[in-house]
Every structure is written in structure tokens, then in C-alpha cells.
Symmetry: C2
Subunit: 205 residues, 2 copies
């Protein structure tokens, strides 16, 4: 790569290059920026990386990232208890939160069904979700909103969940967010307005 | 920012956002990529950052970054001893090395003269450069190539250096790389071909 550089710099350039969308040129730029920045910032940054996984838990209700047992959304009494939004990943929660179009609670499935990749119902959090919905304390939930990707796998997962949840109880409304989001794309990359409109236009399953 | 996220994640997103050209959205993407990557990679990356400055020295001849006293370019006997290229920063060396248009040695000035910003000859490595050129062991140097930015400050610095070096000895050729590089831009952002042509077309000062 840059054979004239010390190994410690070359290593760091290589690590930055592995991040999504960062090529060798911008990786080098980032490392030179860090070389010129304060020792304090280098240490803060390095320590944050080293300890990244140390204090992170998954919320025992929704499986979103959390500082404690329960995440800041599930522990917030102002969130609407009667709405539960099912998402694939935690990043999807961030995107939805930015729209301010939804004030209920979430559940992170941790993936979508994908027979091609060998991902079946037991590989994602479907049984945890069904257990939660069976518990008496979640009787408050009146509507379940599916906000899964509009890919083949996301659609299949939505249909599978619809069946399973309908079997559990028939007094819960099951909806999914409108197909305002472009087909074939992931929730996390949708722009805020499209995503907000998709929430408003959600349709009863 | 992302108030639903644990503080350790929010901190890291903020640190990534400070890097040049990284906004909050891509910073978040990088952190989620890291959360999904192995603990081993997180530790390698974090440790590399923490130790970034520990083993890095400046070459005692050219002031490029080095693992030891002398950098890998200055210690390479195959480099042409009769050519010395003066650059503003170490990043400029990387850009020039990639072109393969120059096989001599370098000297990193560490800045350019900028009266507006209070940077005078004593704030960059002009006296170190002149000392090196005065030493008998550098008699081998026959040509000094100025590869400074084509900005006002870079031009002024080139003229200043030309005066100083001419006063020292009149048997050294002083050239500067051709203005193939777009005016007002930095050496490090030039593309390889333009930079290679600029080396070929260098003109006697």
C-alpha cells in the first residue's frame, strides 16, 4: 500500500479501509487527520473502540441496544404501549425515530427469513416475539406494525408473521408500513420523508 | 443525536463524525458495522488507534514519518541521491510515490509561509533544510525539486526557498514541478497522471 509509511500507520489505514464505503485514499486521509489531532482525541477514540462491546446489552423486551436491562424506549412511559413495530435491525429503529412518525414501541427480529441463505424461523427472534405477545402484560398492544424490508425475504417474513400472530389472537390489528419505500431496498437507507409517509399510509394486513 | 442508543455507541458515532468527510449518517453506519464485526477486529482497531503515536518518529533527514531514526526512503540506497524533492507534508510524499515518476529523496517542510496566518520562515523547517544542504555529505545533491502547493502561499514559499538555496550554492539546479496541477489545490489531492506529468514537465527555476 504505502510502503514508505511506518507499520502502525499502515495497519490503521487498512482497518479504516474495511469500513463500508471507505477506500484506501479516504482511509489514509482519516489516519493523517488523526496523526495531526491531539493525543487526547486519539485515546478517547481508541478507548471507545476497545470498550465498544463492553457495556452494551440487548434490551430484554425489544432487543434494541441498551445501556441497561431495558432500553431507553421500552423504559419510557410516554411511548404508546398499544403499538408495537417489528423491525429487522436496530439501525431501522434509528431511521424510524428520526421521522417522529411513530411513538410506540419496537421489537428487533434480528433478521428476515431467507431459505436461500439457510435462515429459518428458528434463526431469528420469532419465538421470542410470540412469547411476548402471549404474555398478559402485553395485552395493551392493540396494533402490530410490520416495518420489514420490501425485499422478497422481508415480504415472506411479513406473511409468516401475519399467520403466526393471527393464530395467537384475533383482536390485535396487524398492519404494515406502506410501500412508499422503493422496492428492493433496506429500511435503514430510506430517506426520512418517504419513511414518514410510509408510516402514515400503513395498511391493515 | 440517536438518543435511543447506549452512550458508548453515541460517543463512537461522534468521534467518527469528526473525521474529514464523514457525516453523522455514515458515522452511524461505521459503528454498526463495527458492532457486527468480531471482538478481535474491534480490539485490533482500538489498539492501533491508542498506540498510533507511540512508535512513530520523524526521519532525522527528511522528517517523513518513520519506524526508526531514518525513514524507509532515506535508508534505501537505490534512491537517487542527486535529487531532493521538497514537499509541504508527508501525505504529499505518498501521492508522489504512487506516480513512480520520482526516485530521489524528499524533505518535508512541515508547512508553507503564510504571513496572513502568522507562519514565517522560523515556523517551518527552512533552517533545517539549509543546514542539510550546507553539509558536505549532501554534496551529491545536484537538483532540488520544489513540489509545493500551487497556492499563493506555496508560490511565495517556492520563491523564498529559491533565493535562500541560490545564495548557498550556485552549482545546484533548482526546479519546480510543472503547473499541470490545477491552481489553488493541494498536492495530496491531485490525481496520479496529472502529478506524474507535472514531474516530467518540471522547469528550471
Amino acid at each position: 500500500m504505502h510502503s514508505s509509511l511506518p507499520k502502525s500507520i499502515q495497519d490503521l489505514v487498512e482497518y479504516f479501509s474495511r469500513l463500508p464505503g471507505i477506500g484506501p485514499k479516504s482511509a489514509t486521509r482519516h489516519v493523517f487527520y488523526l496523526l495531526q489531532s491531539s493525543r487526547y482525541f486519539q485515546e478517547q477514540f481508541g478507548t471507545a473502540l476497545l470498550r465498544l462491546s463492553d457495556n452494551i446489552q440487548h434490551c430484554k423486551y425489544c432487543f434494541h441496544f441498551a445501556d441497561e436491562d431495558v432500553c431507553s424506549i421500552c423504559s419510557n412511559p410516554k411511548r404508546e404501549q398499544e403499538k408495537l413495530c417489528i423491525v429487522e435491525t436496530s439501525v431501522d429503529i434509528l431511521a424510524i425515530e428520526k421521522t417522529n412518525a411513530f411513538r410506540g414501541r419496537y421489537f428487533v427480529l434480528g433478521g428476515v427469513l431467507s431459505p436461500m441463505n439457510g435462515i429459518g424461523p428458528q434463526d431469528i427472534r420469532i419465538s421470542s416475539l410470540l412469547q411476548i405477545l402471549e404474555k398478559s402484560e402485553t395485552e395493551a398492544i392493540q396494533e402490530i406494525i410490520l416495518a420489514l424490508p420490501s425485499t422478497m425475504e422481508g415480504e415472506a417474513t411479513a406473511h409468516y408473521l401475519f399467520q403466526k400472530i393471527s393464530n395467537l389472537s384475533d383482536n390485535k390489528k396487524i398492519s404494515r408500513i406502506a410501500r412508499g419505500i422503493p422496492l428492493g431496498s433496506e429500511i435503514q437507507y430510506a430517506d426520512e420523508n418517504t419513511l414518514a409517509r410510509a408510516f402514515e399510509g400503513r395498511q391493515i394486513f
